[in-house]
Amino acid sequence: MSTEFTLVAIALLAMLTLTAMIISRLRGLYGAAMVAALFSLLTASLFVLMDAVDVAFTEAAVGVGVSTVLVLTVLALTHSREAVTPRNRRLPAVAVVVAAGGALVYASQDLPAFGSADSPIQTHPITDVYLVESQEDIGIPNVVTEVLASYRGLDTLGELIVVFTAGLTVLSLLGTLAPPEDCKPPGRFHLTDYRVIRIVSGLLMPFILLFALYVLFHGDYGPGGGFQAGVIFASGFVLYGLVFGLDRAQQVVPPRVLWLLVSLGPLVYAGVGVTTMLLGGTFLDYDMLNQGHPESGQHLGILVVETAIGLTVAAVMMTIFFGFASRGVTRK
């Protein structure tokens, strides 16, 4: 490992640990949520350093964008200060943590050295399938996209259904979304104070959505894909809702459309699988989509599946945000 890599990795890991400690010490939960966003930024930098560019993309969009917004929305609905942890709770926790950490460190002796090229994961035959053979079978440079959407397509369908179910669960916990006319911000919302931020956000909106589309369709050649695009799309609308008011955001994307999109994704995804079965292949065998030219069949299949993922992820994230944000309305 090059010395630069090691030094940068150590610096980032040290900062990450410090940030985690700061989060655990902060009792003001608004502060903790903000530092959690910083934690997420650091994590994403480490992902970039460890060559996981797609993961870094997702972590940045999810950790800094969506989950910070969700935690803050919930804090606005509940108490934002934490009670002091009683001393008698700390000791058992420390005991458990020390025991578990000790067990992990003990077990880590069997792990291969960090970055070694002859560790079991690297020498397993599947590595060659993914990194070399995939270029002939599918021909898309981004291996992560290939594995995600094609080789492990069934697994990803499962993950998408988890996201779908989580969206449904949040809706059933919080009740249906408040109608847009109930979410009108009060008159003083339109203060001239906010002129700068409104103009800049209005200017940025189209670029955010364009960027999301770019990430979706460029995911074959660079970092990106359906999950990332969905989250970016959603964070664009979250920004819109935060700056221009929830009512206007809900007019742009009415709940009815949102629910249609939430269920459309898994349906399209599974539909592709059923289509390939009807065409004589196995479930999600994209080769069948273009019989004479399996490679372009794969391209088509991956594109459709990634779009389906993007739709559902974006719709679920928006539903969750609107659900929490309009909770304050329905509660009153």
Binding site: A11, T19, V48, A61, K184
Partner: protein, 92 residues
Amino acid sequence: MILAVMVALLVAMGLVLARVYLGPGRYNRILAVNLFGTKTVLFVAVVGYVFGRPEFLDIAILYALVNFVATIAVLRLTHYDELVEQHHEEEV
């Protein structure tokens, strides 16, 4: 040269982290987190050059974007009552 920039960025990140820890109060932390975000954008851009794959700058664009969204979210949601009208106020 690029390495020196990277070191400068890491040192600056450390200093900002100290401000995050010291606070005090919400605004100092938002400010620090926001500035930390800008440094991460630069860090990611620079890492691409150091390790020889500068084409991954898309990630840095995304960082710049979410950093802005997060800052606006913090400002907005800490004044939640401005975002959603409180119905009972109207009736009183």
